[in-house]
Symmetry: C2
Subunit: 331 residues, 2 copies
Amino acid sequence: MKVLITGAAGMIGAKLTERLLNDGQIAGVPITHMLLADVVSPAQPTSSLTSSVEVKTLAIDLTDAVAATQLLAQEPDLIYHLAAIVSGEAEADFDKGYRINLDGTRSLLDTIRDKHITNDYTPRLIFASSIAVYGAPFPEVIDDNFQQTPLTSYGTQKAICELLLADCNRRGFLQGISLRLPTICIRPGQPNKAASGFFSNILREPINGISAVLPVQDTVRHWFASPRTAIDFLIHAATLAPEQVGLRCAMNLPGLSATVAEQLESLARVVGTDALKLITRKPDDAINAIVANWPETFNAKRAIALGFTAERSFDDIIKVYLEDDKPNVGS
Amino acid sequence: MKVLITGAAGMIGAKLTERLLNDGQIAGVPITHMLLADVVSPAQPTSSLTSSVEVKTLAIDLTDAVAATQLLAQEPDLIYHLAAIVSGEAEADFDKGYRINLDGTRSLLDTIRDKHITNDYTPRLIFASSIAVYGAPFPEVIDDNFQQTPLTSYGTQKAICELLLADCNRRGFLQGISLRLPTICIRPGQPNKAASGFFSNILREPINGISAVLPVQDTVRHWFASPRTAIDFLIHAATLAPEQVGLRCAMNLPGLSATVAEQLESLARVVGTDALKLITRKPDDAINAIVANWPETFNAKRAIALGFTAERSFDDIIKVYLEDDKPNVGS
């Protein structure tokens, strides 16, 4: 099986690459080729992992007219389309957001369709969507039938790409799935431009002895999954039969609904109460205004029935960070 | 007030034009200019109606790179964006559907945004969307919160345009409203390429002594409003304050839920049982398959609270046709 990952240099892209190379297969089908693409060339994975897989990296700008043709030249069987600019940037730069997040995806879909028509090429495409397709006001629990009324340009772009993908899926140009990922927590590494960054910062930084700013009230509730779970989602999606996915190919995923207070309680429990001393409360009206429009709790009934699973306690989410991502200072 | 109507040569566009010229105002504000645009030049309205309004017509292809600039050159205060290719054609010609229904709308929105940034131009834009943004399976009654999962390319394009419009509305580039029109019945004139055409054909043709084909079962239920009501919707939308519309600017509208059997009972009641003899039952699998995915009944609570109203009996829908549209043969 040939696998293409767009956005492969991102946090999720890199973890997915590592996991696929470790597994060497998906649902029993050996991975033979991987093309890792991003706007900056993704790191070449360490050779120990790649012995049986031909891995190529490609620096490519999705808004380039020939990008999609290059990405699809080898006709990958499975495409993970993760490339996107994040919510904060898409809000700050209207044109760039639509160019990359919408036009980039459309160009990929159009090229797949061209190849489908000429060549019967019909790949599986797994699109990293987001709960940002939803916007307040919300019911207490959001079910699988709730309307998409995004309140950011990022969420609008994700919702539009879901619709485009679903139409291509319905017409049989590809086998599409859009996964509305929960907010990923704890994000390793440096803060990015996502407005949701603080949910990770207030845990990751204190764990590493660094101070962090909490810009919202302790009562703020949100919907989370760990990076490891996000990768599990992406892998599991690739194992579903098209008839399990059907025409409603965008789906909410299981996650953990937690308040900031619950995050901090877990932090104290797992790492110790000293970690809390590194957090400074500094309310930020702009961030509060954005967060007030975010979903808090889902009942992801359909995805759970399809076998997707997520963490059930925030302690587990913190432990995933300690096991998978905490920098091993001094070792 | 300057008014632009795209799709002005269509059935709804022509009726809206006539109504606006008759009224001469919207919510007490006099209409001074009207620009009627379509891919074929709309008919110049009769002079008696246009005495106080400067009316211009324009033949323009929305997919032309300069079309939006030409349409917006005079900075209309109110834009009715009705132009679209219909469901049957958008399904048959994938590229044409996306080019006109999606790219055409996006180009209009982008040009408005440019003018907003340079010139603080902030028009009101009323977009003719459709219940085709919904796709089966449905709950018994579709409420205002139900998800958009279209099962046609036409419905996909309408849903995407709603999302684009909502993002522009949220950012303040314009004041947008998307009206999810029920199926308009009885459509006057000739059948068009809409898959829903038979709902009108089975009434209009017998009323005029012409035979008609019924391709579905009598039990098929659907959601209707008359052309007159559709025009009322478009006018009423223009009178709403932006704060009444808010950020969820796409809305379901009231209508009448009726089965084909109920349509035919009304036909017999209003026009006489002889009309039924002109209807031939000829089941069409393709049309049945499409119709099976269409919504049947809505609870358009929000639009009703905002003052939108529709017919409450199918007899009334037939009477509207007799009063407004039946050709006066021999007079």
